[in-house]
C-alpha cells in the first residue's frame, strides 16, 4: 500500500489544489511499481493551510503553473523513494519512453515494461535482455498500435554514473544489435540505478515510470506473510 501526504503553508484554493495534485500524481505516484499490485488503500492527500502571507493561488493565478510543476517534481522525488524501498529491491530502474504519439501511450508502454516479471528478473540478474523489454512493449494494453512502428523502435540502456559511452544500444530501428559490448553491458547493469530508454519514433510525447528489480528476497518477504 502507498500512503502519502504533502502539506504546504501556501494558500491554494481547493479546486486548484485538487487539480494540481491530480496532475502531479499522474506523473509521479501513478508512475511507480514494485510488484504490479494495486492496493485497496492507496491514498495521497494534500493540505494547504495558507500560513504564508501571499495572494491565494487559483487556477488563473500567474503562479499556478510554477507551483503545479514544483508539486509535480516534489511528488516524483517522494514516489521514487517508495520504489527505492521496494521489497527486496537491489536496483532502482527508470523507464523512459519517448517520442510516442501521446502521453497516455508512452505511460502504458513504460508501465508494461516496469511490471514485466521477466524484465525485472533480468535486471536483477544483470542480463541485458532486450527481448523481454521488446516483448513487454509488444503486449502493452494500448488502445491502438499507432504509437508502435516496428521499424522505428530503439531500445537502449543508459549508464547512470556519467561514464562513457553513456548509451548501450540494444535495438536500433527495430533491429537487435547482436554484437553487444557484453563487458560494457555488465558495467552498466552492475550499477544500482538503471535506466531503460525506449524511443518509439512515432511522435514527440514522453513518460517516465520507476520500478525495481525482482529478487529472491521479494518472495521470501511475501511468502511467509500471514494475514
Amino acid at each position: 500500500t502507498l500512503l502519502g501526504f504533502i502539506v504546504t503553508d501556501l494558500p491554494i484554493q481547493s479546486q486548484a489544489l485538487q487539480k494540481m495534485l491530480r496532475f502531479s500524481t499522474e506523473r509521479s505516484f501513478n508512475c511507480i511499481s514494485v510488484d504490479g499490485d494495486m492496493s485497496t488503500n492507496d491514498t495521497i492527500c494534500m493540505i494547504a493551510n495558507g500560513a504564508v502571507e501571499t495572494p491565494e493561488i487559483t487556477e488563473t493565478s500567474s503562479d499556478y503553473e510554477q507551483v503545479k510543476l514544483q508539486v509535480t517534481e516534489f511528488g516524483k522525488r517522494l514516489a521514487q523513494l517508495v520504489v527505492r524501498d521496494g521489497e527486496g529491491a537491489t536496483k532502482f530502474v527508470t523507464v523512459n519512453v519517448k517520442n510516442a504519439l501521446n502521453f497516455a501511450d508512452a505511460k502504458i508502454i513504460a508501465e508494461s515494461i516496469s511490471n514485466s516479471m521477466l524484465v525485472k528478473t533480468a535486471l536483477y540478474g544483470k542480463d541485458a535482455n532486450w527481448g523481454r523489454i521488446l516483448c513487454a512493449i509488444g503486449y502493452a494494453k494500448l488502445g491502438d498500435l499507432s504509437s508502435l512502428d516496428v521499424d522505428k523502435i530503439n531500445v537502449s540502456f543508459i549508464a547512470t554514473d556519467n561514464s562513457e559511452p553513456r548509451e548501450l544500444k540494444l535495438v536500433v530501428n527495430g533491429v537487435p544489435q547482436l554484437e553487444i559490448d557484453e563487458e560494457r553491458a555488465s558495467e552498466i547493469l552492475a550499477l544500482t540505478d538503471l535506466e531503460v530508454l525506449v524511443d518509439l519514433g512515432t511522435g514527440s510525447e514522453e513518460a517516465q515510470f520507476w520500478t525495481c528489480d525482482l529478487s529472491h528476497e521479494y518472495v521470501t518477504i511475501n511468502g511467509d506473510y500471514r494475514s
Binding site: 500512503l3 504546504t8 503553508d9 492507496d42 491514498t43 493540505i47 516534489f74 517522494l78
Partner: protein, 206 residues
C-alpha cells in the same frame, strides 16, 4: 549473492534535518496495534487560523476500496475540500474488506479527532497494514486521546521524522522530504511530504 551489495538506504535517503511549513504540528504514538511495539499512529494538524485550509486527495481505483478511502473521499466531497485541518493515520491494520463495521470504526477514528478540533468534517483518515482485520479501536482511540491529552504534538524535525515512521509497514526506511520554494513575487513557501510503501505498489489513483 546477486543482491549481496547491501546499500544503507537509511543513511542515503533519510534526512537528518529539515525546515517545515508554517502552521502545522504533528504527533505520533505507539498504540500496540503493531506487534513489534513500533510507532503506529500519527496525526497531522493545521494550526493556522488566518486562512480556511484547502485539502485534496487522490484515491485507489481498486474496486474493493478500504473504509478509510471511502470515508476520506466522503469528507472531501462534503467539505468541498475546505477547512480540513487534520489527517489521522494508523499502520498495522488496513481496515480493508471490513464492511460496515470497518466504516463505523473509521468514522469513530475521524470523530475523535473532529471532537478535539471542535469541528465536523475536518479530518481525513488513512490506514495501512493487514487486510481483512478489524481495527483494534480500543488501542487507537486511546492513542488519539493520549496524543491530544498529553499534547504530544511538535514542529521539530524529530516529530516530523516520527510521524513518517509511524505510517511504515514493511518499509526499511521512513520517506520524508521537505523543500523550500520561492514564488516570482519573492514569497517563500515550503512543501513537506511523507510516504510509505514497499510492497503491493502499482497505484492508479484518481
Amino acid at each position: 549473492q546477486q543482491g549481496s551489495k547491501v546499500i544503507d538506504k537509511y543513511s542515503l535517503y533519510v534526512p537528518k534535518t529539515g525546515t517545515f511549513p508554517k502552521g502545522f504540528k504533528v504527533a505520533s504514538a505507539a498504540t500496540g496495534v503493531k506487534k513489534n511495539g513500533n510507532l503506529d499512529l500519527g496525526i497531522i494538524l493545521n494550526t493556522n487560523q488566518s486562512y480556511p485550509s484547502s485539502a485534496a486527495a487522490v484515491f485507489t481505483t481498486n474496486k474493493f476500496k478500504a473504509a478509510p478511502v471511502l470515508l476520506s473521499h466522503k469528507v472531501l466531497e462534503e467539505s468541498s475540500g475546505k477547512n480540513v485541518n487534520a489527517i489521522v493515520v494508523n499502520s498495522g491494520c488496513a481496515n480493508s474488506v471490513t464492511g460496515d463495521v470497518g466504516m463505523k470504526d473509521a468514522r469513530e477514528m475521524v470523530g475523535l479527532v473532529n471532537e478535539q478540533l471542535h469541528q465536523e468534517n475536518s479530518t481525513l483518515v488513512m490506514s495501512t497494514g493487514v487486510i481483512g482485520q478489524r481495527l483494534q479501536l480500543n488501542k487507537i482511540s486511546q492513542g488519539i486521546k493520549d496524543i491530544f491529552g498529553q499534547n504530544k504534538f511538535g514542529t521539530d524535525f524529530e516529530s516530523w521524522l516520527n510521524i513518517s515512521k509511524c505510517i511504515c509497514t514493511t518499509d526499511t526506511f521512513p520517506k520524508l522530504i521537505t523543500s523550500k520554494f520561492t514564488l516570482p513575487n519573492g514569497t517563500e513557501y515550503t512543501l513537506t511530504g511523507m510516504a510509505k510503501g514497499a510492497g503491493m505498489i502499482c497505484p492508479n489513483m484518481a
